[in-house]
């Protein structure tokens, strides 16, 4: 690794656009370095910074491994990737975009299940009737497991779902889901309802620093300077 400060930024999509706008407001101009399709960049105003463009979930991996000093990505992805996120990274600044809740949602027709504890009550009966445990479709396997463990709920299975999770209950692939939602409209359209105390995490994009990256006092000062300039 060079002695530059490595900043990992989203490489595509809306998150990338919002991220560029955020940095522009901070008076920082991000430009690609080298070939147009490359994955390296720089910040004109801060020559000590090297930008790496990677996907949002890889940013969490970079920060976990200490392969980047700073990164901008969703808190959901950070907490999903690291069980001990607060030991490994520091949340420096909320970015004010990428806002979404990770929630537990059940079929709206489950009138008997309104709170998370109702799932615990429902589970043994479900198992008696169906001969297997209830299934939760999600891409947030770790967040889900931690949330239910904290609440002492064990009678379920996770089914990994990498897309269109909200369709899983109607398709009979799972009984309920843990997924991300902004307005709740998609959940509603799929006949689902968020449990009263079913918000696992209110997430948004954050500027995050890695505790495992190779830091020097110069790099720390530089990171602090970037964090101060960012105004959500």
């Amino acid at each position: 690794m060079s002695d530059k400060l490595i900043l990992a930024l989203p490489s595509k999509g809306r998150l990338m656009e919002q991220c560029n706008a955020l940095l522009a407001r901070a008076g920082l101009t991000v430009a690609k370095a080298g070939p147009a399709r490359g994955y390296k960049g720089e910040i004109a105003e801060l020559p000590g910074v090297e930008v790496n463009f990677v996907s949002a979930s890889e940013i969490a991996q970079f920060l976990k491994a200490g392969a980047a000093h700073l990164g901008v990505t969703g808190e959901d992805l950070i907490r999903e990737t690291m069980a001990d996120a607060d030991e490994r990274v520091q949340f420096l600044k909320r970015c004010g975009f990428g806002c979404a809740d990770v929630v537990v949602a059940v079929p709206a027709c489950w009138l008997d299940v309104r709170r998370v504890s109702d799932l615990d009550e429902m589970a043994p009966g479900f198992r008696r009737v169906h001969g297997r445990q209830m299934r939760i479709a999600t891409k947030y396997m770790n967040l889900t497991r931690r949330f239910f463990t904290q609440r002492g709920i064990t009678g379920y299975r996770i089914v990994e779902s990498l897309g269109a999770t909200e369709g899983a209950p109607a398709a009979g692939l799972a009984e309920l889901i843990v997924d991300i939602t902004t307005s709740g409209a998609t959940l509603k359209a799929n006949g689902l309802r968020v449990l009263e105390d079913g918000v696992i995490l209110r997430s948004q994009a954050n500027l995050v620093s890695s505790k495992g990256a190779p830091w020097s006092s110069e790099l720390r000062a530089l990171a602090q300077a970037i964090a101060c300039r960012i105004l959500p």
Binding site: C109, D120, E121, R145, P169, G172, G191
Partner: protein
């Protein structure tokens, strides 16, 4: 920790062979068990809690597999492969590695790979006899290994179940108290809720629906619920049926209309859970408790006493054995007698051996009916560490 040197490996193997020899002489068949197991079955049986600690992977065919987190479920599978009916008496013993992810990092006290040597006794009709036999053979194996000073800790979830049966409670409340027994906090909260009989919190909308339901009229309730969903524009989706949803609502309504749990009965349950002391005087204490509470525990206490007597005739020293009504609270698949063997040098946090009765496990693994089962295993790394320490 896996052994660091060939010598240590050899010592572990030799110790395991010695223990197995005691088990096979006592009539337990030594069975080989696969390290790689189907993940789905394990996770269905042990739940997601253990999944977080199980090494799960997918093979090139897309099949979900795991490294066995214990050897009891594999033994159940082997038994059912041989005897699909399940209820055939059999005694097995095994030795092998089990694997568990350690969230806080693996170390000597929390290895991610460790050796289990143990026994399982299936479908023995006389439960107390089988319980005593299993403890007896484990104690004999430890004594053969050169260990003399051990302490036995016992508990009996069967007593707790008997206590709940003896109290005048709706079956649902019993089920719920059994279900929460594993988590002291939730258990206390549940007791408090049943005593105060605050109706479970409901949204206004569901409340008005609930008022129209009569717990005695199941089919009528289904029609009302169906109509309610229809009018609210909510579609019935997913695997749960209208009957399942409506039945649970009815149970909730019935609970809310039930007179609250009598304060003296809640107190009785609480004082039962708090009973601890020498095993030899436990049943006297429990008997007095039952008498004060005016409930009948004769049958369960007779079984408890009989088991103690059988333990003694199996050569187990029971005069220092400790009983705790709460013991077994962290091991969800046990259903009756539970025990641990403690070495004073290692303390209660690191038992040398442990086990108990789990009469539901074979059915969970696929047996067509519930099959009595009791088993135990020895933490051989701890045993060896103890023997090394005492010889040096």
């Amino acid at each position: 920790m896996p052994p660091a040197t060939a010598q240590q490996l050899e010592a572990l193997d030799a110790q395991a062979r010695r223990l197995l020899a005691v088990f096979t002489r006592a009539g337990y068949e030594h069975v080989p068990l696969a390290v790689i197991q189907p993940a789905g079955l394990f996770l269905d049986v042990v739940g997601e809690g253990l999944r977080a600690r199980t090494y799960v992977f997918t093979d090139p065919d897309g099949e979900e597999l795991c490294l066995r987190p214990d050897l009891t479920v594999p033994t159940c599978r082997l038994h059912l492969a041989r005897h699909p009916a399940g209820a055939i008496a059999a005694r097995y013993c095994y030795s092998g590695a089990a694997f568990r992810y350690q969230p806080a990092g693996a170390d000597r006290a929390h290895p991610r790979e460790f050796r289990q040597v143990g026994v399982e006794c299936f479908a023995a009709a006389d439960r107390e006899q089988a319980d005593a036999e299993v403890v007896g053979v484990i104690v004999a194996a430890l004594s053969d290994a050169g260990l003399e000073r051990i302490q036995l800790r016992i508990g009996d979830l069967g007593l707790f179940h008997a206590l709940l049966e003896a109290l005048p409670l709706p079956p649902r409340w019993r089920r719920r108290l059994k279900h929460h027994f594993w988590r002291p906090e939730a258990f206390r909260a549940e007791l408090a809720r049943l005593t105060s009989n605050g109706p479970p919190p409901m949204e206004d909308l569901t409340r008005t629906l609930a008022d129209r339901l009569d717990p005695g009229k199941r089919e009528e309730a289904q029609a009302i619920v169906a109509q309610y969903l229809d009018r609210s524009g909510v579609e019935l989706i997913g695997t749960r049926t209208l009957a399942e949803i409506s039945d649970r609502l009815l149970a909730e309504v019935a609970d809310a209309r039930e007179p609250p749990l009598a304060v003296e009965h809640a107190a009785l349950i609480e004082s039962y859970v708090a009973v601890r002391g020498p095993a030899t005087t436990a049943s006297k204490k429990l008997g007095e408790l039952a008498q004060r509470g005016k409930i009948d525990l004769t049958h369960a206490l007779a079984a408890f006493d009989r088991r103690l007597a059988l333990l003694q005739s199996a050569g187990v020293d029971i005069k220092d054995a400790a009983f705790s009504a709460e013991f077994g609270r962290n091991l969800e698949y046990y259903t009756g007698f539970v025990f641990e063997i403690i070495a004073p040098e290692l303390g209660v946090k690191s038992p040398l051996a442990g086990g108990g009765r789990y009469d539901n496990l074979l059915a969970d693994v696929g047996a067509p009916c519930s099959v009595p089962a009791v088993g135990s295993c020895i933490h051989i790394e701890r045993l060896l560490a103890l023997l090394c320490a005492s010889s040096s």
